[in-house]
């Protein structure tokens, strides 16, 4: 089956299932130590993106902007960009500034690399200036995310002596996911550079005093040493398909072998991730992780009948949808609708590859979808449950089925930044929640109201 574009290109987008590229870039820059995200363009974009990120992470997210005015759109924003960089430097004292050019700056054709080079030359000892072109018309927030990761790597990677550490490029996951991934890699005794690492910067502790930025993030020193790593683990099927990722770049320019994997969501994909860690470290999987896996399998058995044959609609960021489809498939839930707002050729084949057991006659895969088209498909497909971010709520409510909140954005619940999706532990949490959600629904809608299920 081929993916159907949800709406014929050229028509209107109704309730987008994506946001814009600069948001993804800002998340990446937030995950670098002492780095301030900076949008070159009008100030509205920065304010909107901050608001959006804040409502998910519930953390301060500072994004500076060059605050284009009407004149700047005619005469160029170079002066503003430089003044802005100087002001950010004074106020935050950062070691790096991540400059993403928005639609506006890209469209008027600003030569940002030249402006940044000029600024750096005039202010020696100033922060590193990373540039990523991020117009929304060339991709979604996840595209902006991956492009920013690549630009960061290109910017810092210098020739360096080979070392035993590994690079881990996780994609757009939750801070809790990042913490767990670090834990897993460390359990194999591997030194690891995680990029980006916003596990603390976007999920930090309460402050005793004002901090210019949250502590944490990938250090610049670690970034410089990525070119000498033993391997790069690249998670997520869709960026890998494009072959213009950070991992691919490191392989081409610094001969760091690239190991492309899916997101470790569900048992099988986590097995693949663990197997890669075993190969890299030469160590066997530690006993406590094996036990975690054992408990997961045991719980699959305990709960299998409650979920078997249930129909699920899932949508959101492409790699998470692919990962969740794989998890659902291995427990006997049928994904009937898998949709994403991004337009990736690789999405549909990857979803299909993840499905071993589902009945393909009943499966619809949409790329470039918006929530209106997703809802229209869901009305026909009649799922029993929806897996999506908070944006899935109107649909779940309309269909009268439960919503299991996953991924981004979560703005109608607390704790989106602490949702665990990856590893055996993430699979365990998702499985328990899934089973219990279905049980709860059955209990609540039963006339008898059984208290023993």
């Amino acid at each position: 089956m081929k993916a159907q574009p949800a709406t014929p290109p050229g028509t209107v987008t109704r309730n987008a299932c994506k946001v814009c590229a600069p948001l993804g870039a800002c998340v990446v820059f937030s995950g670098i130590e002492d780095c301030v995200p900076f949008l070159h363009g009008s100030q509205g974009c920065a304010t909107y993106i901050r608001r959006y990120l804040i409502s998910h992470f519930r953390e301060p997210v500072d994004i500076a902007s060059s605050s284009f005015s009407e004149e700047d759109t005619i005469f160029g924003g170079a002066r503003n960009l430089r003044a802005g960089l100087a002001n950010v430097t004074t106020q935050y004292g950062p070691r790096a500034i991540g400059v993403a050019t928005t639609c506006l700056a890209e469209t008027i054709g600003e030569d940002v690399p030249r402006i940044l080079a000029g600024h750096a030359a005039d202010s020696p000892g100033g922060p590193a200036l990373i540039h990523v072109p991020a117009p929304a018309y060339a991709g979604t927030h996840t595209d902006g995310f991956h492009r920013a990761v690549r630009r960061v790597v290109e910017h810092f990677a210098a020739p360096c002596t080979p070392h035993a550490g590994v690079n881990l490029l996780p994609g757009f996951l939750s801070p809790e996911d990042l913490r767990h991934l670090k834990e897993l890699v460390a359990a194999f005794g591997l030194a690891c550079t995680l990029l980006p690492d916003y596990s603390d910067t976007l999920d930090g502790a309460a402050w005793a005093e004002y901090l210019r930025g949250q502590p944490g993030g990938t250090s610049l020193e670690a970034l410089q040493r990525m070119s000498g790593a033993r391997s790069t683990l690249e998670l997520g099927r869709t960026p890998g398909a494009d072959r213009d990722t950070a991992a691919a770049w490191l392989e081409t320019h610094h001969q760091v072998p690239r190991i492309p994997l899916g997101l470790p969501v569900g048992l099988r994909e986590t097995d693949a991730f663990i197997a890669a860690l075993e190969t890299l470290s030469g160590a066997a999987c530690p006993a406590d992780i094996q036990r975690e896996r054992g408990r997961l399998v045991d719980s699959f058995v305990d709960g299998h009948k409650y979920v078997f044959g249930r129909r699920a609609a899932l949508f959101g960021d492409p790699d998470l949808v692919i990962g969740l489809a794989s998890l659902l498939d291995e427990i006997g839930v049928r994904p009937v609708l898998c949709a994403t707002g991004a337009r990736h050729q690789a999405f549909a084949p990857a979803v299909q590859a993840a499905l071993d057991h589902a009945d393909p006659t009943d499966l619809r895969i949409l790329t470039g979808a918006d929530h209106a088209s997703i809802s229209e498909a869901a009305r026909e497909l009649r799922p029993d449950l929806v897996l999506a971010g908070s944006k899935g709520y109107p649909l779940a409510r309309e269909l009268g089925v439960p919503l299991i909140r996953v991924g981004f954005p979560i703005h109608d619940r607390i704790g989106g930044q602490r949702l665990l999706h990856v590893g055996y532990r993430g699979a365990q949490r998702l499985f328990d929640q899934l089973v219990n959600t279905l049980l709860e629904r059955r209990q609540d809608t039963s006339e008898t109201g059984y208290s023993y299920l």
Binding site: P9, G10, T11, V12, T13, R14, N15, A16, K18, V19, C20, P22, S42, Q43, G44, C45, A46, T47, Y48, I49, R50, R51, Y52, I54, R58, E59, P60, D62, A64, S65, S66, S67, F68, S69, E70, D72, T73, N80, L81, A83, A86, N87, V88, T90, Q91, Y92, C103, L104, T107, I108, P135, A136, Y137, A138, A206, W207, A208, Y210, A372, K391
Partner: protein
């Protein structure tokens, strides 16, 4: 020590120390993490609640997507406004122009949703690629037989204020096109209330009870046809001065309808607003009914505030809100709760606004224009505040620093307007300021172990007033 950017010094004052007028009404300093949004955002705020109109954002996807259903503006009927429609411009359209796509999008949406009118918002990029949005709107309007109104809301044109103005111009295109027969002599429009959490309904009820007809709430629970005939009202009451004054002025010039600035926030201001209108009509029956209503409501709410007042007495508040009128009302309302305002700031105040704000605040109150997180944090700490009032973007700063927070912008879901709104406000403030969680945040836990525990948090279990009040709330 947290620094303030040199260029921003003139936009910050401390009452009693500086005599020169506050510098404001200018664009944000580049590189400052402004809390302000863009002109487009301002236009969206104002027109969004018109529930039976189509709202199409012309531009790349982000501008529209960040706006999807984020506001608490309620409609009693159609829900069309809650969608986020975008032309989602792609690279080819950016290069060759987006007019064709805009036209297609409009036709498709109008056919599908049959709206009463359509608004088309231009975003920055449209201003740069030079689409003739007006021409497309004219064409589609002719073909579909509804008003299709362009909103010149390109973000870079300015701050929210610029966007308010563009929205007022757009809304005004509908005004005067409807039939006004049947509108009585004691009739008002309420401008600048957006029916957040049903506030327009509360206010409308007051006026109706007092015998005054509300022709249109603009734009709260708004309808295209209400706008068309609102020029039949005899008086315009303008709340939230920043956003709707321009429309009121247009109505005054074109239709001779006088305007009054009012606020429906707080007991004092709500009563003043009702009396203002009643006095204007000089109708003894209306005046009497207004007096009865105010007496009854204040008599009901004021005693209920007492317990909050006791618990909150002496607490210190900082506020940073969109418009200045809201700030005035908040300062007064906080006073009514026994609290002191130590910081007052707005995103878009004018020099006169800041003058007035200075007058009603105590000495030492810091007054700021277009602030940023670093500055706000600096003041929160230096002024040792217990409560911060602002929007979603300010919330994490307050929370990180261990300070209570109350949301007072368009995203809140609790009605704060009118007499009963004051009660909700008191509950909100009380729930955050007196929560026991603050004892654990680093700043407080350190302070309570210091030698001067004078402003230590009162834990509800130990505070008799708070215990009383918990019973009352149960």
């Amino acid at each position: 020590m947290i620094q303030v950017l040199e260029q921003r010094r003139a936009q910050i004052h401390r009452k009693g120390e500086t005599a020169t007028p506050l510098r404001c009404d200018r664009r944000s300093v580049a590189g400052s993490v402004t809390q302000r949004a863009c002109a487009f955002c301002g236009s969206r705020v104002v027109l969004y609640p018109i529930a039976d109109a189509l709202h199409l954002v012309h531009g790349p996807i982000g501008c529209a997507a960040y706006n999807w259903d984020i506001r608490g503006a309620l409609s009693s009927g159609p829900q069309l406004h809650r969608n986020s429609f975008s032309t989602d411009l792609q690279e080819m359209e950016v290069i060759y122009g987006g007019e064709r796509k805009l036209k297609q999008a409009l036709e498709e949406l109008i056919d599908r949703y049959r709206p009463k009118a359509a608004f088309v918002y231009s975003t920055c990029i449209v201003g740069v690629i030079g689409d003739d949005v007006e021409a497309v709107c004219r064409q589609v309007a002719r073909a579909k037989g509804i008003d299709v109104i362009p909103v010149a809301s390109e973000g870079f044109r300015g701050t929210k204020k610029t966007g308010y103005q563009a929205a007022c111009e757009a809304a005004f295109k509908l005004v005067g096109t409807g039939d006004t027969t049947g509108i009585g002599a004691c009739s008002v429009n309420i401008l600048g209330d957006f029916n957040i959490a049903g506030e327009s309904w509360i206010i409308r009820r007051y006026f109706e009870e007092a015998g005054m007809e509300v022709v249109a709430t603009i734009t709260g629970d708004g309808r295209v046809d209400d706008l068309r005939r609102c020029h039949g009202a005899r008086l315009n009451l303008v709340q939230c001065s920043g956003s709707m004054t321009h429309l009121a002025k247009l109505l005054e010039t074109a239709h001779g309808i006088p305007m009054r600035r009012v606020s429906f926030f707080g007991l004092e201001d709500t009563a003043a607003a009702l009396y203002e209108a009643a006095n204007f009509f000089n109708d003894s029956a209306v005046l009497e009914r207004t007096r009865d209503l105010v007496g009854r409501e204040v008599g009901r709410v004021y005693p209920a505030l007492k317990k909050y007042r006791e618990a909150l007495a002496g607490k210190r508040a900082a506020l940073y809100v969109g418009g200045a009128f809201k700030a005035f009302s908040l300062v007064k309302a906080l006073k009514l709760l026994g609290m002191t305002t130590v910081l007052a700031g707005t995103q878009t105040g004018s020099p006169e606004d800041y003058e007035l704000l200075r007058e009603i605040c105590d000495d030492g109150t810091v007054i700021v224009d277009d602030s940023n997180p670093v500055e706000l944090a600096k003041f929160i700490l230096e002024l040792d505040v217990d409560l911060f009032i602002g929007g979603v973007k300010e919330r994490p700063i307050a929370y990180k620093l261990g300070v209570g927070f109350c949301d007072h912008n368009h995203e809140r879901k609790i009605p704060l307007a009118g007499f009963e709104g004051m009660l909700h406000f008191a509950r909100e403030v009380h729930a955050t300021v007196l929560s026991p969680v603050w004892q654990f945040v680093p700043r407080r836990s350190r302070r309570s172990s210091a030698s001067t525990p004078s402003r230590e948090i009162i834990s509800p279990s130990k505070n008799p007033a708070a215990v009383e009040e918990r019973k009352g709330l149960a």
